[in-house]
Amino acid sequence: MNVFLGIDLGSVSTNLVLLNEEAELIDSLYLRTGGRPIQAIQEGLRVLGGRHRGGLHVLGAGTTGSGRRLAALVIGADVVKNEITAHAVASLKEVPGVRTILEIGGQDSKIIILQDGVVVDFAMNTVCAAGTGSFLDHQAARMNIPIEEFGERALQSKSPTRIAGRCSVFAESDMIHKQQMGHKVEDIIAGLCEALVRNYLNNVAKGKDIRPPVVFQGGVAANAGIRVAFEKALGVSVIVPRHFDVMGAIGAALLAQEAVADGRPSQFKGFDVGIRDYVTNSFVCQDCPNHCEVVQVIEEGEVVGRWGDRCGKWSASVTAPTPKVPHYLEGAI
């Protein structure tokens, strides 16, 4: 089967998707990155390749996420794209008239504003990770509630407790305090959802013109409590797309489809990158006081990529052929 592969290599999760030529999702995979991005990609490709018993022909591959450059290097990508654009592309496909995208992932959150199918404004969280998936995970574990049930429990609340949500550390102490005061667990969870939404709207979405249709995606969109809190705060209904947790990867696959639309062959190295030997290491360049940490990726004993140097002398010294990318993307790789 002819497919397009999309990979979203994030800080917390690594998502892979396969789209068919009609751009329909035929398979997806959600893995924990666990601080080992290359292994996560290799594992993901091995699993996907195995599920379809080698019957896949990849016409194009794209990567996104904070590890997009690394992922592109490992798999041989046709397109490397930032998360904002990837998420917007996927959302537009799912909800064509979308005006606002709320995206909350493992460690970052963003808002994207669109008009007539084009991104016109966006913002990402900068200094604060309160309200992202990692914090919710942590709170669920602390309260001994499986994260999958967290949202449902919130919906059972009749009167959410007011939680101070500006800072995740203080939110936690406030929750402990409210527990000790005797508030019901459901009310505290619902209160936390509302606090996180307030935090998001005040920090990430501040000054943005939020208009319906509003789409909510990213891993946290699994949490119905947060979705309902958004609906309450915004006064509009919030759409959670079917594949909300892999939208970045879907966007990357759609962009890959666009990139090879002119019939060029894909740079994809094959599902067997899973068995190739990759080593990454880093060193601190001592040639000037910048002390840049240079990271290098070694494939089968050969350096295929280097980055992290401000002056460019290390990244420019790689002799192995770098993946061919469209001119406008050259800077991104």
Partner: protein
């Protein structure tokens, strides 16, 4: 007196010549590196802005190289920068470094003080001052021109990185010029080098204006190399602030009550009638100008906790929606990661290129 000064972009080349020519022993501030910032952050109040912290680090590195005096400019209007020299002096004193400080305030309202401060810097016969100033000014202008040209060339270059390499060569040539004659030779050589960078004459790059607080706009280390990154993403950058322009306006035009930045201030008026310090009001006006001149967007560079820029950011949101003109603010501090800046810039470039595509329609 062994004197050092803040390093801001390429200006240090001309400022060193100026101070040397006036008869001072100059301790060249070293390039700003992560170590500079670490050092500065350690000895600065947490909520001071990024320029304060970088300067703090620069002074400490200068002192370690033997400097015992610092010269810096004052601030304009209600901006904390006006206190910075005094704050730096006190912090240095508490650390056990007694240094002389010379603050050059804009002449308007500070003329007597400015003359007094300048006289401390002039240690040659007055007859030599004029030629020294003229030479340094000429250098500064040439440095500004080189940078402006690099902004034009980078998105058009055929070989990635060739502009940046040419730029470095030019800077070292300018640095080497010792008198007016050598400077005019340098000018010719620089022209030659820049003209030899192969470019794609057909390219129609996206155009983005850079506005913001002067230090973070001018010093690439402070802004995560925004201009270079944009250039390599295929964007022609235009900067409204150049040191020659800023000095001319604040030191001369303002003093003779010749309204500088006339347009920018006039165009900002519907949004902001008050002088809010720093570059706040100019940024608003410049953004309007960029939008009228067919630019695709504006990047607003703001040091985190900078009050004038916080005000400007709020107003720019309104300007952006009124004009349908993309504006992105980047807040910068010691925690700003280059990757984060890069991701936002890539997304911004996607945004403006889609917008342009849509406005121009599909060419059949």
């Amino acid at each position: 007196m062994r004197i050092t000064f803040p390093r801001m972009g390429t200006s240090y080349i001309a400022i060193a010549d100026l101070l040397t020519g006036l008869g001072n022993e100059v301790i060249l501030p070293p390039p700003i590196t992560k170590r500079t910032l670490d050092l500065g952050t350690r000895y600065s109040p947490e909520f001071a802005c990024l320029p304060f912290k970088i300067l703090m680090g620069t002074y400490l590195e200068g002192i370690a190289r033997g400097a015992d005096a610092i010269v810096s400019s004052g601030g304009v209007g209600p901006c904390r920068a006006g206190f910075y020299m005094e704050m730096h002096r006190r912090i240095l004193r508490d650390l056990g470094y007694e240094v002389e400080t010379i603050t050059l305030e804009p002449p308007k309202g500070h003329m007597v003080d400015l003359i007094k401060q300048l006289r401390r810097l002039i240690n040659v016969p007055l007859s030599r001052v004029w030629s020294t100033v003229r030479f340094a000014w000429g250098k500064l202008e040439l440095l500004d021109i080189i940078e402006e040209r690099a902004y034009y060339l980078r998105p058009r270059e055929v070989v990635r990185g060739s502009t940046t390499r040419a730029l470095r060569k030019c800077l070292s040539i300018v640095r080497g010029a010792k008198d007016m004659e050598q400077l005019s030779e340098a000018r010719n050589k620089v022209e030659e080098i820049l003209a030899s960078v192969p470019i794609d004459p057909e390219a129609v790059p996206l155009k983005v204006g850079l506005v913001g607080e002067i230090y973070v706009v001018l010093e690439p280390f402070a802004n995560g190399e925004v201009a270079e990154t944009l250039g390599e993403l295929g964007v022609e950058v235009h900067r409204s602030t150049y040191l020659t322009k800023w000095t001319r306006e604040n030191a001369f035009l303002d003093f003779f009550r010749i309204p500088a930045d006339r347009d920018a201030k006039r165009l900002a008026r519907p949004y902001l009638g008050e002088m809010i310090g720093g570059h706040g009001i100019i940024n608003v006006g410049e953004t309007v100008i960029y939008s009228r001149n067919g630019f695709d967007g504006v990047i607003h560079l703001a040091p985190f906790t900078c009050i004038p820029e916080i005000v400007a950011k709020g107003i720019l949101t309104k300007v952006s929606s009124d004009l349908g003109f993309p504006v992105m603010t980047l807040y910068l501090d010691e925690h700003t990661g280059k990757e984060g800046v890069r991701t936002r810039l890539e997304a911004f470039v996607d945004l403006i290129s889609k917008k342009r595509e849509k406005e121009q329609g599909v060419a059949w």
